[in-house]
Structures are given as C-alpha cells and as structure tokens.
C-alpha cells in the first residue's frame, strides 16, 4: 500500500479568479456600518473579518505533532484543554479543539508551504493534516463592549475574568457553533463556518446595535 499523500496548493498564484471572502456577500447585502454610525455615539464594539488565513486541522498524537510543530513553526501545542498558543508576533496560533485535534491558523500564503514541511517532518507518523481554510472564516470582535455582545449570544461564560487571555473554546453561539477565543486583552476571535458566516455577521450587527457596532474592513493582503 502506498503512503503517498497528494497535497494541493489551494491558493496557487496563477489563479485567474479573484478570491472572495466568505463575508463579501454579507458586506454587499447587509452593508458595513462604520463604528458609531447608526447610533451617532461613540462605538463600543467593532467587528472585522480576517479573511484568507490558512486554517489547518491537525489530528494525531500530541507528542509527535508537538515535536514537528516546534521544529517547523517554533511554537508548540497548547498543553491544556481549551487553550491557545500564539507565536511572538501574533500571526500564527494553535488551538486545542479536542484531545487529538488542534486548529492551526497561519497567514494564508504560508499554508501550503507549512503543510508540506509538516508532512515532510512527520514522515510516516499516524497523523492527519487537513486544510480547511476555505470552509471557515475568522471574525474579530473588539471594543470595550465586545464581551457584552458575546454575552447576549453565547451560553459560555465570557466574563473577561473567567474567559482569560489564551483561552479558546468551541461552543454554541446564537444557535450555531463557533470557535471562540481570546488571543489578547483587546480582541476576541470567532471562527465560523463559511455557510454560517452571513448569519453570524447579521446576528452580530443586530446584537451590537445598542453599542454602536461597526465594521472595519481590512485590506485583502494585509495580514494584520
């Protein structure tokens, strides 16, 4: 039996079709209110999409994956359940999803190279690496009322004292599921399925209306 794994670059440079983020349609259809625009007051919550990041699901034994990741990327797997490791410049992160599953997020143009190097390093180990970049997107929520918007939406305890920096959970969010995490003091990140992105976006606009929620759109190729 052959152990060959075919790896495809999902974002090859020669692509002629412009990539659209999962929220492109929502921005068109539901609009992108500027922070504070609707209420006329200062905005206390801001959302933004960080599209076109590379999302890789790693499955397998913690020890082999941790070793390979430290070698290739310089960061290790989080040691505890429901936690998150972020590298020094905040661009790359690994999150615990379940006892044998982690989510690795890196800038989009690094995904293919990283996957290839990880595979080379892991050799014949019993692991799986799946590129799910196209299936989900990352929505960033910041502002002083960010946690209040979350409190209206999720059953999980998002009090900033309970949900500390470096924590990340998969939980219910407005009847759908999200991966909710807090990489630093000021930001919350929601990783949502592509097909639910529009729903979550509109939910956030509605839930955040009282805080003057607004959207700040990043440039396509800007990584942060």
């Amino acid at each position: 039996m052959s152990n060959t794994v075919h790896v495809y670059d999902a974002r090859a440079d020669h692509a002629t079709v412009t990539a659209e983020s999962p929220l492109a349609y929502s921005f068109q259809r539901s609009g992108m209110p500027a922070p504070g625009e609707a209420s006329g007051e200062e905005s206390r919550a801001v959302i933004g999409e960080r599209a076109f990041l590379g999302h890789l699901i790693l499955r397998g034994g913690a020890i082999v994956l941790d070793e390979a990741l430290r070698e290739v990327l310089g960061i290790g797997l989080p040691g505890r359940p429901n936690s998150l490791t972020v590298d020094a410049d905040g661009q790359r992160s690994v999150q615990w999803l379940s006892p044998d599953e982690w989510l690795l997020i890196v800038p989009g143009d690094e995904t293919f190279g990283l996957e290839t190097r990880l595979r080379a390093h892991l050799g014949g180990s019993h692991v799986a690496i799946v590129d799910v970049s196209a299936g989900q997107t990352l929505i960033e929520l910041s502002g002083e009322a960010a946690h209040e918007v979350l409190m209206k939406s999720t059953v999980y305890d998002v009090d900033p004292h309970a949900f500390t920096v470096g924590k990340g959970v998969t939980t219910l969010f407005a009847k759908t599921s999200v991966i909710l995490r807090r990489p630093d003091e000021s930001r919350w990140e929601l990783i949502v399925r592509r097909s639910f992105a529009d729903y979550v976006y509109r939910w956030l606009l509605d839930a955040g209306a009282e805080y003057g929620i607004g959207v700040v759109r990043e440039d396509r190729h800007e990584s942060q």
Binding site: R80, P81, L97, S98, P99, V155, V169, T170, T171, L172
Partner: protein, 136 residues
Amino acid sequence: MFHIYCPYCEEHREEEEFHPKGQAHIARPEDPDACSDEAWGDYLFFRDNPRGIHHEMWLHAVGCRKFFNITRHTVSYEILETYKMGEQPTVGAEHLAREEKTAREGKTDSVQVAEGGQQAVGASDAALASVKGAQA
C-alpha cells in the same frame, strides 16, 4: 438545565452542548457467529430502563465532539459522575442501595441532589479501591 462536566474539556458546560446517546457499557458478544439469537438480540435491541442509577453515553456535540459516560439517577436526574470512554464507573447500584439504607435508618436525608445539577461525588472507598485495582 444541567451543567455537565466534560471529562475531556475538563470543565462544566451547558447541557445544550451535549447529546444523550443511550446506555453505556454494552459489550458486543465475543463471537457473533457462535452466540445464540437471544444473546445477539439482547445486544442489538434490548436496553435497560432502570429506576435509579443508569450509566449512559453522552456526546459533547458542540465542543470537543467526544463520547463520554455519565452516571445519572433517573428519578432525581442527579448526575453522580462523568468519566471518559474506556473507564469504569465508581458509582453504581450498590452505592444507591447504601444511600437508601442509610436514609431508612434516618442517618441522613434521601439521595442527595446537587445544587444546579453539578455532580456530587459519592463513591465509597471500597468501590474506588476496586476500580483502581482493575486499572492497575
């Protein structure tokens, strides 16, 4: 609303995140070709419906997506413990019988119901010792 402790996530989560998946610890007959129709039928179709302690499988469906076991009291709905797949319960029917006996003797109140549905640990030392012995 239950507040269920997921042994994999190592924290209490809302009941909404979980799905019940029926009776736990159902052993598949060692040799299906050689077992009787009755034994096979029992294995496939027949489930316990006890009044009292029941060991169940639950799935942390929105979360770590792992199966685990819950020991639950079907009358009071109290969750006595949760434990990972492949582990053995430390709370069983004997535990219930002992609790009821002490209740009858007036030593304590009936089966204790934990506030907010959180698990109460009620395993006897003997039961714990036997499980530890089995694992060793």
